[in-house]
C-alpha cells in the first residue's frame, strides 16, 4: 500500500509557513542570528529563533494571553494547521504522531529559575505542561479529534521517526490518514546542554566545512500529512510526493558520539533504499543531517562516501538556515526535501568554504533549478545512536 504526502506545514527561524521558508531557502537567507526573545543566557548565542513571542503566537492561534501553553506546542500548532489545510483529522482511522525532545521545558525552566530565587506557589501550574505527551495532546486537540495520538522522543531523529511510524501504520492498514512530524522550541536547558558538551559554535555554524566548530540550536515545527488511496478518495487532497522508503537503525557506538564510519547512518540509508526498492544511483539529492559538529559531519560524510562511492550526488544541510531544531529537524527537513522534489531544485549549504578531510565531493553551494529530481533522501541522526533515513519520491 503506497503512502502519499498530501499536506505540508512548517515554522522555523525562516518564518511561518511553507512559502516564507521556501523563499529564504531559494535566496540563501539564513535565519540564524544572536538570540533576542530567549532570555537568561550568560552570553549572546547564535540560534535559529523564530521572531514571534509566545504571546504573538497565541494571538495568531486564537488563544488568550493567559493560557499556559508551552512554546513547543505553539510552534507545533502553527505548522500542523498549515499541513492539514481543510482536512479534518478525526475518525478511528486517523492519527497524529509528534516528535519532540523539549516538550514544555521552556515553562519548566522559567519556573525552576524563579523557584530558586523566589518561590511562587501559583506558578507551579506551569510545570503541568512539562511532559512531552501533554504538549502533543495540545496540538492534537487543536487539530481535531484524531484517534491515535502518540509522541516519539529519540533526540534528533524524533520527528523523522514519527513520520516513519505513521507510514508503517498506514502500510499495515491500521490508519488511513496521519499527521506526522514534530516540534521543538529553543530553551536554555538545551543550549546549556550542548555548550556543556563543547559542541556549540560561537559563530554561525558551518556544516561539512573543514573549519566547522559545532552546531547552533534552532527551533520550529514541521508536519506532513500522510494518506493512503482510500483517504485521498475522500479528502481529494493533492499529492506532493510519495513516501517511498524508510528505515531506523542504531549506531550502538557511544551515548553521544557516532562511529567513525557512521555505521548506524549507513544501515539506515541502505534500509530505506531497500524499502523503496531503489539503488543509491536513484537518489538525486540528500538533505543531510549535517549539524556542523566535528563528529557528526565526519561520520556522516564517511557513510555517504561508502554508500554513494563515486556518484555525483548532490547534498546539503539546511541547518545553516534553521539551526539544529533537535526533535523538529526530521519534520522540518522532510518539508524542505519535498519542496526540493516538487520544485526540481536543490538548496545550497551556507558558510561553506573548504572541503573536509575525507575529500568526498563538496556539498551544493549555489541554488540550482531545473534539476532532475525523482528521489530525495532525508537523514536524521540522534544521540543514543538513533539513525533514521526517509526517501520521498516524485509521483
Amino acid at each position: 500500500m503506497k503512502v502519499f504526502v498530501t499536506g505540508l506545514g512548517v515554522v522555523s527561524a525562516l518564518g511561518v509557513g511553507v512559502n516564507a521558508n521556501f523563499k529564504a531557502l531559494q535566496k540563501s537567507i539564513t535565519g540564524i542570528g544572536l538570540n533576542t526573545l530567549l532570555k537568561g543566557l550568560t552570553e549572546p548565542t547564535y540560534v535559529g529563533e523564530l521572531d514571534l513571542s509566545n504571546q504573538d503566537m497565541k494571538r495568531m492561534l486564537g488563544f488568550s494571553k493567559n493560557d499556559g501553553i508551552p512554546r513547543t506546542a505553539l510552534l507545533g500548532m502553527l505548522a500542523a494547521k498549515e499541513a492539514l489545510g481543510n482536512t479534518i483529522l478525526n475518525g478511528e482511522r486517523s492519527g497524529f504522531i509528534s516528535g519532540t525532545t523539549v516538550g514544555g521545558m521552556d515553562l519548566t525552566e522559567d519556573y525552576f529559575k524563579e523557584a530558586f530565587d523566589n518561590e511562587d506557589h501559583k506558578k507551579v501550574l506551569s510545570i503541568k505542561t512539562h511532559d512531552l505527551g501533554t504538549v502533543t495532546n495540545f496540538i492534537a486537540n487543536f487539530c481535531g479529534n484524531p484517534n491515535y495520538v502518540n509522541t516519539i522522543s529519540t533526540a534528533c531523529s524524533s520527528s523523522a521517526n514519527s513520520i516513519l511510524l505513521g507510514a508503517r501504520m498506514i502500510r499495515a492498514g491500521l490508519l488511513d490518514k496521519v499527521l506526522v512530524g514534530g516540534a521543538d522550541a529553543l530553551s536554555r536547558f538545551t543550549i546549556h546542554g550542548f555548550r556543556s558538551l563543547m559542541i556549540y559554535d560561537n559563530q554561525p555554524c558551518k556544516p561539512f566545512d573543514a573549519a566547522r566548530n559545532g552546531l547552533n540550536l534552532g527551533e520550529g515545527a514541521g508536519y506532513i500529512l500522510l494518506e493512503n488511496d482510500t483517504s485521498i478518495s475522500q479528502t481529494k487532497n493533492n499529492i506532493y510526493a510519495e513516501l517511498s522508503g524508510w528505515n531506523n537503525a542504531n549506531d550502538a557506538f557511544h551515548q553521544t558520539g557516532t562511529s567513525p564510519n557512521g555505521d548506524g547512518a549507513l544501515k539506515a540509508m541502505k534500509g530505506a533504499l531497500n524499502a523503496a526498492s531503489l539503488n543509491p544511483t536513484d537518489i538525486d539529492y540528500i538533505n543531510a543531517h549535517g549539524t556542523a559538529t566535528k563528529n557528526n559531519d565526519s561520520s556522516e560524510l564517511n557513510a555517504l562516501a561508502i554508500l554513494f562511492k563515486k556518484q555525483q550526488i548532490a547534498f546539503s544541510s539546511t541547518k545553516s538556515y534553521t539551526g539544529h531544531t533537535l526533535g523538529a529537524s526530521g519534520g522540518i527537513e522532510a518539508v524542505f526535501s519535498i519542496l526540493s522534489l516538487k520544485n526540481k531544485c536543490v538548496f545550497p549549504i551556507l558558510n561553506w568554504l573548504n572541503l573536509m578531510e575525507q575529500k568526498f565531493k563538496q556539498p551544493v553551494t549555489t541554488y540550482q533549478v531545473n534539476v532532475k529530481i525523482n528521489n530525495v533522501m532525508s537523514n536524521s541522526f540522534g544521540f543514543g545512536g538513533n539513525s533514521t533515513s526517509l526517501i520521498f519520491s516524485k509521483v
Binding site: 556543556s196 558538551l197 563543547m198 557511544h254 551515548q255 553521544t256 558520539g257
Partner: protein, 83 residues
C-alpha cells in the same frame, strides 16, 4: 593534602567512580583508553573539574588529550596554571 592525592579524590567524585579507591590510581597510569578506561564524556567532566576546583578554564576540548594523560600530567598542568 598533596595535590595528586587531592586530585584523585576530585576525579573519583567528578567521574562517579564509586568502585575505585584513590590508592588504585597510579600517578603515571593512563587515565584514558586501556588504563582507567575513561572516555570523551569524562574528558569534558575533567574540564569542569579544572574550572570548579582550580579556576582553570579550557575552551578547546582538544587540549584535554595532553593534559589528562595521567594524574602526573594533570598535576603538572594545574601547578603551572592555577590561580
Amino acid at each position: 593534602m598533596d595535590l595528586k592525592e587531592e586530585l584523585k579524590q576530585h576525579l573519583i567524585e567528578q567521574l562517579n567512580l564509586e568502585e575505585v579507591d584513590a590508592a588504585d590510581i597510579e600517578n603515571d597510569a593512563a587515565l584514558f583508553g586501556d588504563g582507567l578506561g575513561l572516555d570523551s564524556i569524562d574528558a569534558l567532566e575533567l574540564i569542569v573539574l579544572l574550572d570548579t576546583h582550580y579556576n582553570i578554564k579550557i575552551n578547546n576540548p582538544e587540549q584535554g588529550k595532553e593534559i589528562f594523560q595521567s594524574v602526573n600530567s594533570m598535576a603538572e598542568f594545574i601547578s603551572q596554571n592555577r590561580d
